[in-house]
């Protein structure tokens, strides 16, 4: 009887601990959402908000962000740099993953290690190195420099996701296509690419999200012209903290949830394709 009680208590303790841990994970993100509708310029719930008084809520911070030219320019910059970097990273990363998946690939471990290294190198070292290097070749404070930098940071994600998808790809399909007379390009575009497309897309999404959230390289390399959304948030947090950044934060949370569901959906698709 006693042992059963102890076991019960242990079980409930475990559940309570996990509940607290999940609250720790999610609550900070959830708290931002209602606070972004605060009618007052405070970062905490006003009495009116707690009474659910409609007067205490407003869209003024959203309006602020939409009307502020700095934010709309930052959005355009983020989209331009993010898309260009994603295209570059996805194209090069997919090719590399195809090569790495080949059983004939020499030195696979070493090459994979080099290709993935941008993901684990401390970002400050990357940013400072790129700042020195790109200014010395005349690409400092330029879109080109930032696109190249972000493509290098995003490519590892593409390599990892496409490699994972390729492990479920049956190479016999390529031989079947070849026996039916398809050349190498046709085999790739008509047979292999459609089957690994979900992996390529999620890799691209990872690369885009990396660029869309990258602030340190932009901080060191970008000029006033190239301010992106994270860069604008950085100044918002450091210099003039205003609830406007909470409105932007809600937009970024929505983007994150959308990206997450897309990747999950794509994963379901690639599992079906097997």
């Amino acid at each position: 009887m006693n042992a059963l009680l102890v076991r019960r208590a242990g079980h409930y303790g475990f559940i309570a601990f996990c509940a607290a841990a999940f609250i720790f994970l999610v609550a900070p993100i959830l708290v931002i959402v209602p606070l972004s509708f605060n009618a007052e310029p405070y970062f905490t719930f006003t009495e009116g908000m707690l009474r659910l008084d409609p007067e205490a809520y407003s869209l003024r911070w959203y309006q602020n962000v939409i009307e502020d030219e700095a934010w709309s320019r930052a959005l355009i910059n983020s989209l331009v740099i993010g898309s260009a970097a994603t295209l570059l990273a996805t194209a090069l990363g997919t090719l590399a993953a195809l090569g790495l998946a080949s059983p004939a690939m020499p030195g696979r471990a070493l090459i994979t290690g080099i290709l993935i290294s941008p993901m684990v190198t401390p970002i400050i070292i990357v940013a400072v190195g790129m700042f020195f290097f790109y200014s010395s070749i005349g690409l400092g404070q330029s879109y080109t420099g930032l696109i190249l930098a972000h493509a290098a940071l995003g490519a590892p994600f593409v390599v990892i996701t496409v490699t994972a998808t390729l492990s479920g790809f049956d190479p016999i399909l390529l031989r079947a296509a070849a026996s039916l007379g398809a050349g190498p390009l046709r085999r790739f575009f008509r047979v292999q690419l459609p089957l690994i497309a979900p992996g390529v897309f999620s890799g691209g999404l990872f690369a885009f999200a990396t660029s869309f959230d990258e602030v340190v390289v932009v901080l060191f390399m970008g000029g006033l012209e190239q301010r992106t959304i994270p860069r604008q948030m950085w100044s918002g947090i450091r210099e003039q903290i205003s609830p406007s950044i909470l409105a932007v934060a809600v937009f970024l949370i929505a983007f994150a949830v959308l990206a997450l569901f897309t990747v999950q959906w794509l994963r379901g698709r690639s599992a079906q394709a097997r």
Partner: protein, 397 residues
């Protein structure tokens, strides 16, 4: 090694990305690291002065030739706007030299030559009489130098030429490095302590609940780092949500609001929150593959739950602990953004010191030396990771 057939195709496919990473990522790292030991500026700007100092004993002021050379080269550097590149490094070796050099450069231009540059310069500033001044210029003029590494390791070169530890009160970088390692270790252990139970819960729940719980880990994982940091500022600051709640509940008086952010607590909390998913996801994928029958078998053989956990379950999760722990530790020791935004003064880590030397003190050589030490540490851990776990087994989300 002959390259033909499938092998050539495989290499040709990886080559574009390899070349791209080499040009856009490895080359910048090389540029940075070279700055830690190679400093050509002073040698390029004051070549004649340094040549004139060659062979000088170091006792008393040098010969007239050195005075004449620097009286010509300083104003020239001032006109070409390269004087800062000399003044910075020399000033770091002997404080006050920035002013001596800039003032001398300006005043020499208007000084009439009266037979001796030596007297003219000493007339402008008595510092020119001191051998230390010239020793500083000479030391800054060496192209290849290890002094940034010595400084980064809190070492110094004694007057007799031997190398030893700096006096305790002026050691800065080794304590900071230790602090970074300790914080990273602390964050890793905390992530393990929180992540292990929840990964277990996710892995053993029925599919529907398991998916929902996994979502609660993945949403923070995908959410922008800056958003998560902002969230912690909103929660933890003096006028923030938690303090206001405590005051409203009467648990803390209004005058004694808790200091939970802009210090080490802030760094620790926010870092744990950001890195927790990197621990949970590898643990979860390992735990999912452990059949529940193992624990049942242990129980049927007479093990109590604690014994069963320690002898049957825990050993099987070790690969997950290794993968998650190493990944969190690697990411933690290079952490920059969170400490910079919520760390205040006491919560800064080695990355923040590197940024300080690049942006504020402009001591790029030292920043580069600190970077290479950090890089070696991270690459070492990365090597261990790839040996133990295998990079190609890294999974995302």
């Amino acid at each position: 090694m002959r390259l033909r057939g499938p092998r050539a195709t495989a290499v040709a496919l990886t080559l574009p990305l390899l070349a791209f990473i080499a040009a856009s990522f490895v080359a910048p790292l090389g540029t940075l690291l070279s700055k830690s030991a190679y400093e050509p500026n002073v040698a390029n700007i004051l070549p004649r002065t340094l040549a004139a100092l060659d062979g000088w004993s170091g006792d008393g002021p040098p010969a007239e030739a050195a005075f004449a050379a620097i009286a010509e080269e300083l104003p020239k550097a001032r006109q070409e706007r390269t004087l800062v590149r000399v003044a910075g490094p020399v000033n770091r070796l002997k404080s006050g030299m920035r002013r001596v050099l800039t003032r001398t450069a300006r005043q020499v231009e208007t000084t009439e030559f009266a037979g001796s540059w030596r007297e003219a310069l000493i007339g402008i500033n008595p510092a020119w009489e001191e051998p230390d001044t010239w020793l500083a210029i000479q030391a800054a003029g060496t192209r290849f130098t290890l002094r940034h590494y010595l400084q980064a390791l809190d070492l110094e070169r004694r007057p007799d030429g031997s190398i030893g530890l700096q006096p305790e009160e002026s050691r800065i970088y080794m304590p900071l490095l230790w602090r970074t390692l300790l914080v990273s270790l602390g964050v890793t252990l905390l992530c393990l302590a929180i992540g292990y139970p929840i990964a277990h819960l996710i892995a053993t729940s029925p599919p529907k609940r398991s998916n929902l719980l996994l979502l609660m880990v993945l949403v923070p994982f995908w959410t922008s780092l800056l958003v998560r940091t902002t969230a912690w500022i909103v929660l933890l600051q003096r006028q923030g949500v938690i303090n206001s709640l405590l005051v409203a509940l009467g648990l803390t008086p209004d005058s004694e609001r808790l200091e939970m952010i802009y210090n080490m607590t802030g760094t620790f909390t926010a870092m744990t929150h950001v890195l927790l998913p990197f621990m949970v996801l590898p643990l979860y994928s390992v735990m999912r593959s452990i059949p529940p029958t193992h624990m049942a078998a242990a129980a049927s053989l007479g093990a109590n739950p604690v014994q069963g956990f320690i002898r049957v379950y825990l050993p099987q999760t070790l690969p997950g602990i290794g993968a998650g722990g190493l990944l969190v530790f690697i990411l933690a020791i290079g952490y920059y953004i969170t400490p910079a935004l919520v760390g205040g003064r006491s919560g800064q880590l080695i990355s923040n010191m590197i940024a300080y030397h690049v942006q504020t003190s402009l001591n790029w050589g030292l920043a580069a030396a600190l970077s290479s030490i950090l890089l070696v540490a991270v690459l070492g851990l990365y090597l261990i990771y790839s040996r133990l776990i295998g990079i190609d087994r890294m999974r995302l989300g």
